[in-house]
């Protein structure tokens, strides 16, 4: 096989195509040339989908099989500016339904500034920005139940 030239780029390209399409095998023949690439069946497909956000009320699928099959996707690292809930409860974005929101995306906040409230056991707890920055996004809706550690907002 003296002059057998393998096109590494082509192999890589097809490997990427398998990833992208979720296929297991591609075989290609053209002008007497043929290439076949196979992904082993058990190799985990690289999970591209973002990890589902935890949410109260959605609940587990209630099924070991689905759960084992859907081994929790390696969570993308949370954004370093993510503000998470320190407690279980109900989140509010404004002091009362008639008031405007504490903050809206685009606002600049100072460290310690209240950005939302969490009601737990009939008491309202201020959720404060841990550092100064700009509110990139608000990840929850007013009145929504939240669990411990749930992302509330991103501050850059």
């Amino acid at each position: 096989m003296g002059d057998f030239k393998v096109d590494s780029k082509l192999v890589r390209k097809l490997a990427n195509l398998l990833d992208e399409t979720g296929l297991g095998e591609v075989e290609y023949e053209s002008n007497g040339e043929r290439i076949r690439v196979v992904r082993p069946s058990s190799a985990p497909v690289r999970q591209q989908a973002p990890a589902p956000e935890p949410s109260i009320g959605v609940g587990g699928p209630g099924n070991m099989a689905e759960n084992i099959a859907a081994e929790p996707a390696a969570s993308d690292k949370p954004h370093p500016g993510t503000l998470t809930s320190p407690m279980v409860g109900t989140v509010y974005l404004s002091p009362s339904p008639d008031d405007p929101a504490f903050v809206t995306p685009g606002d600049t906040v100072t460290a310690g500034q209240t950005v939302m409230l969490v009601e737990a056991m009939k008491t309202f707890n201020d959720i404060k920005a841990v550092k100064a920055g700009r509110i990139v996004s608000i990840l929850v809706e007013s009145g929504q139940p939240i669990e411990y550690g749930e992302p509330l907002a991103i501050i850059e």
């Binding site: 609940g59 759960n67 056991m121 550690g149």
Partner: protein, 444 residues
């Protein structure tokens, strides 16, 4: 009946409660720490709420977080399981204050039984035998001799201010007691700054026997016979069985009746267990557990009754689903508590379960929240699985247990399976001849 129950626990008991709820058609809410996101009961529950970081004090012992989770998830009731907040009367009170149901007895009864002195008084007033002792402090040698005469030898001299076995003296005769009292008094004074001492009957080789009761809010009380839980290491039960070996039908009926009458008199409701030391044909009350117990399955196996279901029914204001006369003991059951610990050193062994294969077939039940790939977290207690085996006789039960242990595989962590394999081959265990000190000597 409740529509949705929040399970305020983790591990095998959380799964046990989840299963009982699903078997009854009730939705479940699993609350969990961040360390338990992949726990089996969390995977299976209808809804899940993360309530805090791994440390139990911030999650499973965090009453406000648990009650908030119940409120936001719309649960009707909270089942506390065992351990954690299960015997915390304030937790029960808070739950009631939020118009939720606590699946357990009233806060008042938890409180009474939570204190050794008030518990002993309550059951004694209701006719339950307790360990006989001097009526209060023993002032002098003569006082002591008179009390011992009443109690019967051997007696144990204890310091009122003491604890943990310190300052205790055992006397088998009046002679020994005469010598022991002055020494005990001075030791008590030195050790606890308080020379008050008292006497109690000394039990030499007692067995730990406990009676399971159920009581509903209509005043019906039934007992489901007893369990022998004498095999303990550092006050942790290791292997339990029912019926208790060597207890006669008459003794069984007598203590069961006494417990029912006492519980009715006290006005207790829900599941409960009266624990006794048993020696020389007599029962001596130790304490009452006002919750479901780890070893409840052995009773379920011989009586064919789902105790967790009954506890949920009672909390929902329903009557117990059967009468005392319908309770029939069928065969024998043994539970092995399999812990994530080294079988000889008992060093805890958290880590990933590489393979998990449970025994099957007739008469075998496994209560475990393990699965292959699960990571046993290092933050909580080491109970990993309960293997419960039933047989038509104690002998068959032991054979089946040997067989089941040979089928069981838990790979990746150390477990106490080898300890149980040794126990079921031991002549004393096979003969049913053991007391509360037996296991400590066996593992020494």
């Amino acid at each position: 009946m409740f529509d949705k129950v929040l399970i305020a626990n983790r591990g095998e008991i959380a799964l046990r409660i989840h299963r009982a709820c699903k078997d009854m058609g009730i939705s479940t809410v699993a609350v969990h720490s961040t360390a338990d996101s992949n726990a089996m009961h969390v995977r299976l529950a209808d809804e899940t709420v993360c309530i805090g970081p791994p440390a139990a004090v911030q999650s499973y012992l965090n009453a406000p977080a648990i009650i908030s989770a119940a409120i936001v998830s719309g649960a009707d009731a909270i089942h506390p399981g065992y351990g954690f907040l299960s015997e915390n009367s304030q937790f029960a009170q808070m739950i009631e204050a939020h118009n939720l149901a606590f699946i357990g007895p009233s806060a008042e009864h938890i409180s009474i039984m939570g204190d050794k002195v008030s518990a002993k008084k309550a059951v004694q007033d209701a006719g339950i035998p307790v360990v006989p002792g001097s009526d209060g402090a023993v002032e002098s040698v003569e006082d002591g001799l008179a009390a011992a005469q009443q109690i019967g030898y051997p007696v144990i001299v204890k310091a009122s201010g003491g604890g943990g076995g310190k300052g205790m003296k055992i006397a088998y005769t009046a002679e020994e007691l005469r010598a022991a009292i002055p020494i005990a008094k001075s030791e008590a004074a030195v050790n606890f700054g308080n020379d008050v001492i008292y006497l109690e009957k000394y039990l030499q080789k007692p067995r730990h026997i406990e009676v399971q009761i159920l009581a509903d809010k209509f005043g019906s009380v039934v007992h489901l016979n007893e369990r022998d839980c004498s095999l303990q290491r550092k006050h942790q039960k290791v292997l339990e069985e029912a019926p208790a070996p060597g207890l006669s039908e008459a003794e069984r009926a007598r203590i069961g009746k006494l417990c029912c009458d006492a519980v009715a008199k006290i006005g207790y409701h829900n599941a409960g267990t009266l624990e006794f030391l048993y020696e020389g044909g007599e029962f001596y009350f130790i304490e009452m557990n006002t919750r479901i117990q780890v070893e409840h399955p052995v009773t379920e196996m011989i009586c064919g009754i789902d105790l967790v279901r009954e506890s949920i029914r009672i909390a929902a204001g329903e009557a117990i689903s059967f009468k005392q006369k319908n309770v029939r003991v069928n065969g024998h059951a043994i539970e092995c508590r399999i812990c994530a610990e080294h079988p000889e050193t008992f060093v805890p062994s958290p880590g990933q379960i590489k393979s998990f294969h449970v025994p099957g077939g007739i008469g075998v039940r496994m209560d475990s929240a393990l699965y292959a790939g699960y990571d046993v977290p290092p933050y909580y207690d080491s109970l990993a699985a309960k293997l419960i085996v039933h047989g038509s006789t104690r002998e068959e039960c032991l054979s089946r247990l040997r067989r089941a242990l040979s089928e069981l595989v838990i790979d990746g962590i150390d477990t106490t399976i080898p300890l149980h394999q040794a126990l079921v081959e031991n002549a004393d265990i096979i003969a049913g001849e053991y007391d509360i000190h037996w296991l400590e000597k066996f593992v020494a």
